[in-house]
């Protein structure tokens, strides 16, 4: 089948949206607590724990070092364990989560570290407990920056889904590779690239808009 129909394109968009949203959601649910743990346990942190911090930091660095395509193949047994298969959209979501969670953890850690140290000092002077510091001081002050971080993560995920075709994940990137690149169909390549540009633009603008609204500056 050489012909790309609107149905096929629509199907690819849905697949990408599915993979990105599920892995973003679960990746964020994993990444945010990891980021908080990094910030709390780091040297001179609120709950300093050098040993825990060193381990967590190293694990995150190791996963972050792996190119997505390698990670995808390397964790196949784990993927089978989780979703019961190694092929298809769901099978692509598992490595996407493993890929994006440490990425989010690292970026959110940076956002949290950017919070004015005076705010932490204020919190301590008010006798706030560590969880209260996180809830009432750290997170509200870092929220705008965290939104931008998640925007970056979302766009990174869209890029990574292009490789999900390797395990039959489908999506727009896969469409560009299998219909456009491998069959020399320039029109399909251009079309998918335009679709990706539009999606990325929309996501980035939305992220900027949200961050600006939260920031009140």
């Amino acid at each position: 089948m050489n012909q790309v129909t609107p149905d096929i394109i629509w199907q690819a968009i849905i697949e990408t949206a599915y993979m990105v949203s599920v892995s973003l959601l679960i990746g964020t649910l994993l990444g945010l607590p990891l980021a908080l743990l990094l910030v709390l346990t780091r040297p001179n942190g609120i709950k300093e724990n050098k040993f825990f911090y060193a381990i967590l930091n190293t694990i995150i660095n190791i996963i972050r070092s792996l190119p997505f395509i390698i990670l995808l193949v390397a964790i196949v047994p784990f993927t089978r364990l989780i979703v019961g298969k190694t092929y298809g959209t769901e099978a692509a979501i598992v490595p996407l989560i493993i890929y994006i969670a440490p990425f989010i953890a690292r970026l959110v850690e940076t956002s949290l570290l950017e919070v004015n140290p005076g705010i932490i000092e204020l919190a301590k002077s008010l006798g706030a407990k560590p969880l209260q510091i996180v809830r009432y001081f750290l997170v509200p002050e870092a929220l705008a920056s965290i939104i931008l971080t998640l925007t970056t993560a979302t766009i990174g995920l869209i890029g990574a889904t292009a490789m999900a075709g390797t395990v039959g994940g489908g999506g727009i990137g896969n469409l560009a590779i299998s219909y456009g690149y491998q069959r020399f169909n320039t029109v399909v390549i251009i079309l998918t690239v335009v679709i990706l540009i539009v999606i990325v633009q929309i996501i980035q603008s939305f992220g900027n808009f949200l961050a600006k609204k939260i920031r009140h500056q």
Binding site: N116, G118, I119, E121, L122, K124, S125, L126, G127, A128, K129, Q132, Y136, F137, P140, E141, L143, A144, I214, R215, H216, Q217
Partner: protein, 340 residues
């Protein structure tokens, strides 16, 4: 109320040890406004942070309200922090929250009811004159307004002690004056003990009852503001006093004195409080009949009283000046020999 008892605080950096506080003892009485002044690095920031547990002493005791705060259990420490509020140099307001929510924050941490929070926050915002700014965000406020929010936030928990960490150092002189007036009202109206640190002598002059001067981690001079301003002993104290009370003779008068054909001796007289109105100069003239000339004069208002500084050139010899000096001293006026 607050007592520092032989406090030593060391900071260990990679290879060297920095002694931030070196055997500091100090007592702040209930209801006082106590100012600690020093150049940056003198140790005053560390000192003030010992009171609310942001720093812990390496040795020595910090006693607040009769209790050694090192001996408190963790939950008592939190209670202790709630009696003590802090106002910061850079305000430390949450940019993501409205003025109302910033002031409400200490009460939210205590899980107070919504109604109670609202009532207390509005009371404090009207005390600092910002009730119309509740819904604004900090970025929409001026520096002085931000500090007013900081003060309202500090007062909302009904503290007994207010710690001010360079509270006016980021503000212009006019705003500084209004914030100092506000802090004075805080002390008078709510009977809150204030311990402040600053590097600006104006703050000490306009607000404090008592002052301690810090240098290299030690207190080099302390006492009532009027005494320390009147008779500073240490060079650093003299430098600080000079920034608000000049006592140097103007250049062109110095020039005239240098060219003077007659021999003269300079005396600096300091009148503290009521004896400013005593007609001492008239008495000197009557008694000694020695030609004299006022080469410098300054009168400063301090703590509701006055400090007058006069430098007078007497055209006489050393024997004559000695007698004049004794005469002045017998009138309870501080006198010292001065030079150009």
């Amino acid at each position: 109320m607050i007592e520092f008892d032989h406090i030593v605080k060391e900071f260990h950096q990679k290879k060297k040890t920095i002694i931030a506080l070196n055997d500091v003892s100090l007592k702040v009485e209930k209801g006082d406004i106590f100012g600690v002044i020093g150049y940056s690095g003198a140790g005053k920031s560390t000192l003030i942070r010992l009171v609310n547990g942001l720093e812990e002493p390496s040795s020595g005791k910090v006693i607040v309200d009769g209790q050694d705060i090192q001996q408190l259990k963790p939950n008592e420490k939190n209670l202790n922090k709630k009696k003590i509020s802090m106002v910061f140099q850079h305000f430390n307001l949450l940019e993501s929250k409205t003025v109302f929510d910033n002031v409400a924050l200490p009460l939210k941490l205590k899980n107070d009811s919504r109604e109670k929070i609202k009532e207390k926050v509005i009371e404090m915002l009207s005390f600092v004159g910002l009730e119309d700014k509740q819904k604004n965000y900090p970025s929409q406020l001026s520096g002085g307004q931000k500090q007013r929010v900081g003060i309202a936030r500090a007062l909302v928990t009904n503290p007994e002690i207010l710690l001010c960490d360079e509270a006016t150092s980021a503000l212009d002189p006019k705003t500084t004056t209004s914030i100092l007036q506000l802090l004075k009202r805080v002390n008078e109206q709510f009977k809150i003990t204030i311990l402040l640190i600053t590097h600006e002598m104006e703050v000490i002059r306009d607000l404090c009852h008592k002052v301690a001067v810090m240098e290299n981690g030690q207190i080099i001079e302390k006492g009532n503001v009027i005494d320390v301003f009147g008779t500073p002993q240490q060079p650093t104290t003299k430098d600080f006093v000079k920034t608000v009370i000049p006592n140097s003779i103007p250049k062109n008068i110095v020039e005239n004195l240098r060219n003077s054909p007659k021999a003269y001796q300079l005396l600096r007289l300091k009148f503290l409080g009521n004896n400013t109105s005593d007609s001492l100069l008239y008495k000197i003239n009557q008694k000694f009949n020695i030609e004299n000339n006022i080469v410098f004069a300054n009168v400063t208002e301090l703590q509701g009283t006055t400090l007058g500084i006069f430098t007078i050139a007497f055209y006489t010899d050393e024997q004559g000046i000695k007698r004049i000096k004794e005469f002045i001293q017998s009138h309870n006026v501080i006198v010292e020999e001065a030079s150009i």
